[in-house]
Subunit: 453 residues, 2 copies
Amino acid sequence: MSRTRFDLSESDLPRSWYNLNADLPTPAPLHPVTHQPVDLAFMSVISPRGLIAQDMAREEAIEIPEPVRELYKLWRPTPLMRAHRLEKVLGTPAHIYYKNEGVSPVGSHKANTAVAQAFYLKEEGGKAFTTETGAGQWGSALSMGCNFFGLGCEVYMVRLSYNQKPFRRFVMESYGAQVYASPSSRTAAGRQFLALDPKHPGSLGMAISEGIEAAATSSGAKKYSLGSFLPHVLLHQTVIGEESLKQMELANEYPDIVIGCAGGGSNFAGITFPFVRENLRHGQRTRIIAVEPSACPTLTRGTYTWDSADAAGIAPICKMYTLGHGFVPPGIHAGGLRYHGMAPQVSALLAGGHIEAQAFDQVDVFESGLLFGRAEGVLPAPESNHAVHAAIMEARQCTLRGERKVILFNLSGHGNFDMMSYAAFARGELQRYDHPQAAIDEALKDLPNIVQA
Amino acid sequence: MSRTRFDLSESDLPRSWYNLNADLPTPAPLHPVTHQPVDLAFMSVISPRGLIAQDMAREEAIEIPEPVRELYKLWRPTPLMRAHRLEKVLGTPAHIYYKNEGVSPVGSHKANTAVAQAFYLKEEGGKAFTTETGAGQWGSALSMGCNFFGLGCEVYMVRLSYNQKPFRRFVMESYGAQVYASPSSRTAAGRQFLALDPKHPGSLGMAISEGIEAAATSSGAKKYSLGSFLPHVLLHQTVIGEESLKQMELANEYPDIVIGCAGGGSNFAGITFPFVRENLRHGQRTRIIAVEPSACPTLTRGTYTWDSADAAGIAPICKMYTLGHGFVPPGIHAGGLRYHGMAPQVSALLAGGHIEAQAFDQVDVFESGLLFGRAEGVLPAPESNHAVHAAIMEARQCTLRGERKVILFNLSGHGNFDMMSYAAFARGELQRYDHPQAAIDEALKDLPNIVQA
């Protein structure tokens, strides 16, 4: 049998992140009230300056600070694997590769930006981060990152997950973080949502509002951290794609198709942006596919326009694909993909025809995740199952057409914390959702009134 | 900073397991009724012949079959890491290394023997394995192994864990296994325990009895698999130590101390036996330490004698350290270490003065596990925390004495499925246990009446 593993050694760890801004600048976000482009002064109230500088940087390669590289070594370079067993089960002539980000201590790619963000906050003398988390992937990662640098970490966790999935909360607390169910009574935004419904299950957008407010009202003591969406977050994740490029070289192949699931856009950006660069700069013609849940179909049924990044309308307004910031997606099991918008950089790539988008129902996606897990051993996170499913669909196309394409996808995290979802799937209790067109139409009525440039 | 990772590539994967029988033969187990050494005919009622042959083999190196090596590649070679950050936190001159078996798809070393056992059963035309599991580490691993080879898997899971930790059960079911709470009404042994107490919380020993009975009464359709204790299980785990030897070479160091936690003995054997070989054959003088919970102190307070391997007395009788097969340890959080006996090979090493044993309370052990997790990122399984604690204690000795020893320990699994235990520790709800001497004395009154050779 040909090789299965394409492992790099620690000396192969990338020395820089790839900055898509160099090849595809996106419009600057707008102030939520004045609708003027946000400036450093406004952003630095809630964000570390080092990260804002990265959002605005134009150079192609941004050096990874040595302390961050040292921390990356705790789990990187991550494995890139040929899925021989899955190929055999599918009977496909396609070659399927996956990058396994599930080997990080918190079980997902989120660790890549968490340690970087904590480094920059520490460097400028910050004391603590506030943030939001859905099922807890991001909150766990940032808790670990803050812990590594002796920083505080205040996490607003979507109440539904806080109650149903306490395990991730215990992970965060084990790293020393403070975790609050959102909406909480600690912020004005939270109290506003609680007034509507004292048992409000919460949403990512609401938790973001709370995290931003907690930082903005802390007189500089706390800064706000976002785990996806922003250019610097996507930037930090490109270490995934940079490693993958080297590993595909070891495999003596180059991918025809690269796939990532997309919620806010960060793991998708991580694996794909370096391949986008190769397309834009070096004449490669790799198809690049973002996969989302059909219950929250931002890229496939949303509108490319200006909208608020959070539910309460206190975050900057961004040009992006959106379902409307008032859109509350159904309670699907891929909590990390329940977001109304999409990273402006990913949105611009789709609008420019550089990438494709696909949406699938969670039931089909779990079926593929289980097929993958039984073949390859790793049971993927519900979010990652979207990428798995798209890869399997492409491989099946190859079978039908007799094509030997090379497919690479990002296994953004393992499903160890999501076994309740697998059990629900096994019992046939996972719900199918129709495309929520009426709810989208309704939410899109309430967009910020921006004159399009 | 000096190197952190010592990664091997797939071509470095060991080609053979190390068989301790070559250097230290142990007395053959005895039939539970006749008290005569068990023969192939007796053993093959419940075990695959290929595995029995390994138990009896005398050659030093046993070749790893190619299909097993192919499956190993899904997660092996596993990382060996220098714990720079932990060293710094401790302020120790010691060099601390850990082997991370938590990267396997099921999160522990158990996968190493699971795929090997499933291979040998498949090879002789078997249809299914029966087995026991405590918290579920072993059951998950065997479920995955059976799934890879298209075999059935019937798991008797200690009822306390079945009820309190359903997540591992969902993992097993996701791989297609049948999972029953033990004691169950499916076996005579189970019904006997249920008659004593219809809500019996169960124990590993009881679940073993059920698994053996289910295989023995299946007319050959099912064989029984044990996840620790037996020579072939320990043999398969030696891939851990063989890799570690190569990786320590990459690090240009050789361990003064090698540490593993010990329940049945398999992860301990896995990391240490190849170093025992180097001690016995090549003049190395590495200290080798087995670590157990003080609540179940088999090696440190048990007796080296003949005792039954299971609670009901239907399994073979082995020469080993034991607390008495009637001993029921308290419900500590390291469920995998709650076993009355110890692998005969590990027992013989201790009796022969080749290794040391230490016992620690779970509260101290969790404190060290959390210290390690905050320093290195990975939160270890409760079982592995015992090895972590012993390593930290040795490193502290080095600090006091100004000694720069090289310490290697096995991180046998991650703690993602054990976050309830970390939460209990954080809330101060973890109980301390005195050495259960009265219970041990009582249990030791009921040993099989064997004339000592």
